[in-house]
């Protein structure tokens, strides 16, 4: 981590102004529809001052804080994914002279990638982006749109001053402190006497921007206050997940009856995959105009909870909800390790919060294979 400095509220506004002047489209937290969402931010008044979120499995409520913290919430429903890999994206267009023509031309549809600055990126989200990098950027083939958007983006992390009721980043080793992957990182220092930020640069361009902002060196007291905040956040995670041996246990218990029990509760709505910051699955869709002369190919987010997802000639491979939930959970926490060397879960808790049936990935992952383990324990004790 770089040298720490103090940044005042005026300094934070100066940061927004400087990014705007450099052509960045700044996206940050805003209060809308009784939730924290990421949208355009140009001034501090846009930020959700004094608001916090209360989260539980299947529950999300905005509440007033006793103070005016700008980043005094845990996480909203949206991940930054929607800006790096948009929910719907045109890949190319095709055109033919008339509907009966044999020939057609395929024309690229790509425009210059937008230049985003993301304000308020949580440590778990930075980690989720690094996970998506491995899949969409550093794979045998790269997703050109993702790669271009990702390369342009400027990341301003904000370390978590509180843990949400569904958070378990401490179990996943992804938070609550941003370790890497940011250009600038902030920690909000707020008490009766002051409202400031501790700021550090994590990249050359972050350092260059920091240099032109009004800032003063941080002192020991500032660092101690930050350390205390982050230690407190880490100690108050709403959930925990034991990852030791988890991959092996899940892969060895694919026929556990508990999958069927989950299926009695799971609605297969796909909410968990829509809010997940690491989910990357997309489908390709084709549309034509009414005349049949123009065709467009779009890439859009897909969910492994749909029947279409596994459809092959006349049938879906994963016809039952148990199979679809098993696919999702074993992918996140087990098969991802075989594929990309790490789990596809950062412990952000969104899939719990936004599940209409309040299904808790940490509880279900802990339950799979438990019967087998209990039996083994009994044999061991006998």
């Amino acid at each position: 981590m770089g040298e720490e400095y103090r940044l005042t509220l005026a300094g934070l506004q100066a940061l927004l102004d400087a990014l705007g002047a450099r052509g960045y489209h700044i996206l940050g937290p805003r209060l809308r529809d009784e939730a924290i969402i990421y949208d355009e931010v140009t001034k501090l008044a846009d930020l959700p001052a004094g608001w916090t979120d209360r989260q539980e499995a299947g529950q999300y409520r905005m509440e007033r804080r006793a103070d005016n913290a700008l980043f005094g919430y845990a996480l909203g429903p949206q991940a930054w994914r929607r800006f790096l890999q948009p929910p719907r994206h045109t890949l190319w267009r095709a055109r033919r002279a008339d509907p009966a023509a044999d020939d057609f031309d395929i024309l690229p549809a790509d425009t210059a990638p937008p230049k985003f600055a993301f304000l308020g990126v949580r440590a778990c989200e930075l980690h989720a982006i690094s996970i998506q990098d491995r899949i969409l950027r550093d794979n045998a083939y790269a997703d050109a749109s993702y790669t271009a958007r990702r390369a342009e983006a400027f990341f301003i992390a904000v370390n978590c001053g509180m843990a949400g009721g569904t958070c378990f980043c401490a179990s996943m080793g992804t938070g609550p402190t941003a370790q890497t992957g940011y250009d600038l990182a902030l920690t909000e220092l707020l008490d009766a006497t002051r409202h400031e930020f501790l700021i550090r640069a994590g990249s050359a361009r972050g350092a260059a921007l920091l240099a032109i902002l009004p800032h003063t060196p941080a002192n020991e007291a500032d660092r101690a206050q930050e350390a205390a905040i982050l230690a407190d956040t880490a100690q108050h995670m709403g959930r925990t997940l034991e990852t030791n041996g988890l991959k092996e246990r899940l892969q060895a218990n694919l026929e556990d009856p508990h999958w069927d029990e989950i299926a009695t509760r799971c609605l297969s709505c796909g909410n968990c995959t829509m809010v997940c910051p690491t989910c990357f699955c997309t489908t390709l869709e084709d549309h034509t105009n009414l005349a049949g002369t123009e065709a467009v190919r779009e890439q859009r987010w897909d969910s492994c909870f749909t029947l279409d997802f596994s459809y092959i000639h006349g049938d879906s491979v994963r016809a039952g909800i148990a199979a679809r939930y098993r696919h999702w959970l074993t992918h996140k926490l087990a098969n991802w390790v075989d594929q990309f060397g790490e789990m596809g879960c950062v412990g952000c808790g969104r899939c719990l919060t936004w599940c209409p049936a309040a299904i808790d990935i940490t509880a279900e992952a802990a339950a799979i294979g438990r019967a087998t383990h209990d039996q083994e324990d009994q044999h061991g004790n006998a």
């Binding site: 395929i106 045998a140 083939y141 050109a144 694919l254 990357f280 390709l284 084709d286």
Partner: protein
Amino acid sequence: MKAAPLRPAPYRVRRIKRELHGVTTLELVPAQGAVPAFEPGQFNMLYAFGVGEAAISISGDPAQADCLTHTVREMGAISTALAQAHPGTMLGVRGPFGTAWPTRAAEGLDVVLIAGGLGLAPLRPAILRLLAARPLYGRLILLYGARSPNELLYRHELEHWRQRLDVDIHVTVDYADAGWHGNVGVVPRLIPRLGLDAQNTLAMVCGPEVMMRFCGAALHDAGVAMDRIHLSMERNMKCALGLCGHCQFGADFICKTGAVMRYDQVAQRLRLREI
């Protein structure tokens, strides 16, 4: 890292052949440039204007460098649009993708090729390569199962191969008609009767998943090593680049580590439902 080739290249249908009811073989030539080299067992993504893209195995001769050959069964909107193309129709092609039949590793060994239904199409490039280099291989056996006699693919070519004395061909059907004098029953039942020299045998199997599961088990029972049994797996395919997630089969992306996979790597999963 390569830029994602999500944009198809234009090809033109040179020739079509109606193989069976609803099954057509297309010969495609590029509108510009050369046909890319491919290995037996690989597939292309074929695009019909405005309708969409489907993963179709290459069924042509790998030694024939001037066109891409694909056999398509009319199943849904895309495959129907592809199969109903006529000479001159332009189609889009991305590929080739995926792993190959182990025709090199099979050199010096007896080779059993087992096809079910349209599964003969992805095996055809391997069969043609083996026949073209016949002295490199030991005994060659082709087992082919179809639903009924009038659903036998490449019938003319099967007759032609049968006339060669250096290939054992066994054809079986699920439902015979009055004119059928051959085997009746499922393909795996033929395996124990082959008198395989199991220590020196390699197998390539392509067909419905349940048929491959039973063939894998029967070959293993006959003594063929699991890592010498190769199956062509199938899952929903969208991007073919390992980016879209659809073709996952456990931890495998079929477009990357398949379609041709070793039985020892997939046997556990074949046993399970809805993986």
